[in-house]
Amino acid sequence: MNILVLGMSAFAAGFALHALLSRWCLAWRRPGRLLLAFALAYAIIWVGLWTAPQVVSGLGLVALTSVRWLHLALFMCTLLAFYFLFYMGVIDDSPTLTVIRMIWRQGAKGMEEKHLHAFFTDERFLLPRLAYMEQKGMIRLEGGRYRLAKGGERWLAWLGPIQNFTRMGRPG
């Protein structure tokens, strides 16, 4: 019971801190800052539990053994990884969910496909991604042509074995 209660409490604390900071300052909406907010909340709870184990027993929970500390750490990390990936979907519009949202908002009268044109533009989809990839050194622009840069090669070196094994991600 202690792992469930403590893990969910730590996650709730991290979420509350992140929500508070996101409302307060735009910079905290960046995914990297999310990790920082959670790391801060997790560290406070972790150190608190470590230095004052009587808090755990005060909550009516069994004291944590070393293996339970590991289990709690695994639980907290999984919750954070899930929320981090989910948050990326929250700030990055998923095209599929956007289509569903736009049609739903039109209600019973439905929606003409041409209304989607305003959302699906190259300025929203392709150009910001190219700019980001160039800025991060994944691609480079030389003589008016985009080429794979060192950063991109490193990415593909990580993903390549999986793509080759599963036969996914080939162009065309």
């Binding site: 929500a19 969910l97 994944m138 691609i139 080429r147 794979l148 599963t166």
Partner: protein, 171 residues
């Protein structure tokens, strides 16, 4: 009879090993040509079966054991979600696709060539076709309507989260 500490370690290892089974089954299913969604489902069910068997074997009557089973189910479910997202990136993420395309073209691509392959119109058409094909939306009299509503709770949840975190639904 398993020693109590060994039992605790086994409970800790159970979701991790179930997740490994999920990942290996999904990767092998894709390698042998199973469709993407089916490979995910097959892997997830295989891992879930392993997790359930493990939990049943290691079960000790009591509330604490029940809570630990719930924790392990959550760990397995969320770790599987993360792996699934990671694998989907390999298939559909525009950035990855562009990098793979550029890797196969040593002379590079101009903006016009990139736009010819990855323009917003193509993305929109592909999404609409997919949503029409799997019955999420229907087209009647030239207008699009929502046919199935099972993605709607996710849309509303994301809108709610945006409202909570940013104070507005549309970014």
């Amino acid at each position: 009879m398993i020693a109590p500490e060994a039992l605790e370690y086994a409970r800790l290892a159970n979701p991790a090993s179930a997740f490994l089974i999920y990942a290996v089954v999904q990767l092998c299913a894709l390698h042998y040509g199973l469709a993407y969604v089916r490979a995910i489902a097959l892997g997830f069910l295989a891992g879930l079966a392993a997790l359930t068997l493990g939990e049943a074997w290691l079960w000790v009557p009591g509330l604490d054991s029940l809570a630990l089973t719930l924790v392990n189910l959550i760990i397995y479910g969320l770790a599987s979600y993360c792996f699934c997202v990671f694998m989907t990136l390999n298939v559909s993420a525009l950035r990855i696709r562009i990098m793979v395309e550029l890797k196969h073209r040593p002379d590079g691509m101009s903006m016009e060539e990139l736009l010819a392959e990855y323009n917003a119109d193509a993305i929109r058409k592909a999404r609409i076709e997919r949503l029409l094909a799997n019955g999420q939306i229907v087209c009647r009299g030239g207008r699009l309507f929502l046919a199935r509503r099972h993605l709607l709770p996710l849309v509303l949840f994301i809108d709610g989260l945006r409202l909570l975190l940013f104070g507005k639904r549309d970014l």
